[in-house]
């Protein structure tokens, strides 16, 4: 259980080789979930959010209200049997709005992470493999982007382009791609001189094929871990932008926006802000718990529990 002195750097360096290529992925994931209940809880949360995102309109008790239909007769009702999480100042069922908010929250994160990865991964792989001036130029560019705190860069971009969900997504993708470029570049550099890549080069495999097959395929593990954590991070960032008024606009069922809408009455109608905030927290937590377990699993420097 405890760290043993045999876990020296020499054995740690040997560990990646000890895993066979077949042993990555699903079978190891299942093994982690069986032993690590926190990771299993994270997965359960994420699966719940996915189910809500896909089947939300059939699960939500008041799907129309979830999308913004107001109801003057039911304003500011405390949680009850009819409205499990209460209603907001426009009479809308909070639970329905949270459920209907799952899809936009998840879709925007997936799109942002996807765009960031699609821009960052090829650039990073090429820069890392080729090196030289191309690498220098690209790394300077990412350094400039990374010189801004990511959320600040996104906020400023939205402020300039005008607040909307689309612009918020665009801004977040702009803020996120350099991290993928740098991550993949570091991996590609370490792979570049490995014997199997050298062998491919020696038998005349064209460079684009080496990058796209040999380099990229072997970079995927850290990228996937990063993407898992980032989907959660983007849910948080998009919610934060919406909270300030720089993201999704009313009446869309955005969790961050809902927290902002209830803020004025937090001491009297506490449920309006509290539950949507909980939805953000739980979703981000879910992705982070999975990401954390995956990182422990794949990072050979970490001592196993």
């Amino acid at each position: 259980m405890t760290a043993t002195p045999t876990m020296t750097s020499a054995t740690a360096a040997l560990r990646p080789a000890a895993f066979s290529a077949r042993d990555t992925g699903l079978s190891r994931l299942i093994r982690v979930l069986r032993t690590d209940w926190l990771a299993a809880a994270g997965l359960a949360i994420v699966l719940l959010v996915i189910v809500l995102a896909v089947f939300g309109q059939w699960i939500a008790p008041f799907p129309a209200q979830g999308l913004g239909e107001t109801s003057a007769a039911t304003r500011n009702l405390a949680p009850s049997v009819a409205h499990v999480l209460g209603t907001d100042q426009l009479g809308r069922d909070v639970l329905s709005r949270i459920i209907m908010g799952a899809r936009p929250a998840l879709v925007i994160s997936l799109v942002v992470v996807f765009i960031a990865a699609v821009i960052g991964i090829p650039l990073g792989a090429i820069a890392g493999y080729r090196g030289g001036w191309l690498d220098d130029v690209l790394m300077r560019v990412t350094e400039v982007f990374q010189a801004f705190p990511p959320l600040l860069l996104a906020m400023v971009t939205v402020a300039i382009l005008g607040p909307s969900l689309f612009n918020a997504g665009l801004a977040l993708a702009i803020a996120w791609w350099p991290w993928y470029a740098r991550l993949v570049r570091a991996e590609a550099r370490s792979l570049r001189d490995r014997p199997f890549v050298e062998a491919a080069r020696a038998i005349g495999v064209p460079a684009w094929r080496i990058v796209s097959v040999h380099i990229l395929r072997n970079c995927m593990t850290p990228v996937l871990v990063q993407a898992t954590v980032d989907i959660g991070a983007v849910v948080l960032a998009a919610g934060s932008l919406a909270f300030l008024g720089l993201g999704a606009q009313p009446p869309s069922p955005d969790w961050g926006l809902m927290v902002a809408e209830g803020r004025g009455q937090i001491f009297t109608y506490w449920w309006i802000s509290t539950f949507p905030g909980l939805a953000i927290f739980a979703t981000v937590l879910g992705f982070n718990l999975i990401g954390d377990a995956l990182r422990d699993l794949f990072d050979p420097r970490q001592v196993k529990r």
């Binding site: 350094e143 010189a147 400023v156 300039i160 420097r301």
Partner: protein
């Protein structure tokens, strides 16, 4: 070491120069006309033209950029479009409140983060480790604006223990005005012996500082735990244990000393992240700092203020990263050599 400092500061300055260019370009792609924002939507065309000439929008872009750079150096950062006062003045009067908040949060996060990290490393997989793991992952998953509201509901709405918003209560500001010595209100009230104001300020500081600390606390605790586990696996710890050195000493003196450098790295990064966190915390707690001014500026497309805030944010981030690099180089000769 000196050469390393010169090289790092040099490259940081270069990045800063490029940042000014990026900020400038960003400010020129604003779809709305800044002259309209400045003069109001009902201003006649000739008035708009006059404002454009006065603010320099009619000149070629490279000239405008050089103008902007010159303004940055000479302290002319433009006027806020919404308050019509110099941006530098607006930021200058608000910066101390933000820095006090940031400092309090980072102090709390650092002390408790390191302590929790060391405690968690004692028995990996144990109960304490599990609890600290939940706490730290929870901390980095927590929306700051939501945590702030929860704390308000609990400590203000239910327990009536602490004030909800602001940095000082109005009563204190009238009855015990704070003498301006350094511009930092809490520090000033302490050194001038104005303990009533200081005490009032500290009670106002608790909730926003706790809210802001959640994220860095989680990060620091995780990092300390991981680097402690790595150090505890090393031979010298094994030897110390074999010699019968008390385990408390081994853990808190021998191991922690070598586990700290990676934690230092993360403290700098966490502070840089918390910088953005102040935006949300200040909005929720009505804290009279830069973050609150920034969010108003962003909603009203007050572009000189946005440019200044972006620059300041990037500068703070850059300084934090630079400090991390240099501290690491100071502590670790291997970094210095590379």
């Amino acid at each position: 070491m000196t050469r390393l400092i010169i090289r790092r500061v040099g490259s940081a300055l270069l990045v800063l120069l490029v940042i000014t260019l990026v900020v400038f370009i960003l400010s020129r792609v604003i779809p709305s006309d800044p002259a309209v924002v400045y003069a109001g939507p009902k201003a006649p065309p000739e008035e708009l033209a006059r404002i454009r000439t006065r603010l320099g929008f009619d000149r070629p872009l490279p000239i405008q950029y050089l103008d902007y750079l010159w303004g940055l150096v000479t302290g002319n950062w433009g006027d806020s479009l919404s308050t019509k006062r110099p941006v530098l003045l607006e930021l200058g009067t608000r910066l101390p409140a933000t820095l006090e908040l940031l400092f309090a949060a980072m102090l709390f996060a650092t002390v408790f983060g390191i302590v929790l990290g060391v405690v968690a490393s004692k028995r990996p997989g144990g109960v304490a480790d599990g609890a600290i793991r939940i706490l730290s992952i929870g901390g980095v998953s927590m929306p700051a604006f939501w945590l702030g509201l929860l704390l308000q509901v609990l400590f203000v709405g239910q327990l009536h223990l602490l004030p909800a918003t602001g940095a000082f209560s109005t009563q204190t500001q009238y009855l015990h005005p704070i003498a301006n010595v350094t511009g930092f209100p809490l520090f000033d009230s302490l050194i001038t012996g104005n303990f009533v104001a200081w005490g009032d300020g500290m009670t106002h500081l608790i909730l926003p500082a706790l809210t802001l600390a959640a994220y860095p606390l989680g990060l620091i605790a995780r990092m300390t735990r991981a680097s402690m586990l790595e150090v505890l696996g090393q031979d010298y710890v094994f030897t110390a244990n074999a010699y019968g050195v008390r385990s408390f000493m081994v853990r808190w003196r021998l191991a922690l000393k070598n586990a700290l450098p990676p934690s230092m790295t993360i403290i700098g990064l966490a502070a840089a992240y918390a910088l953005t966190g102040t935006f949300f915390v200040e909005v929720v707690f009505n804290w009279p700092g830069i973050g609150q001014f920034a969010s108003t500026a962003m909603l009203s497309v007050d572009y000189p203020s946005i440019m200044a805030i972006t620059l300041l944010g990037a500068f703070g981030y850059l300084v934090a990263n630079l400090a991390v690099d240099l501290v690491q180089a100071r502590l670790d000769p291997r970094v210095r050599a590379s």
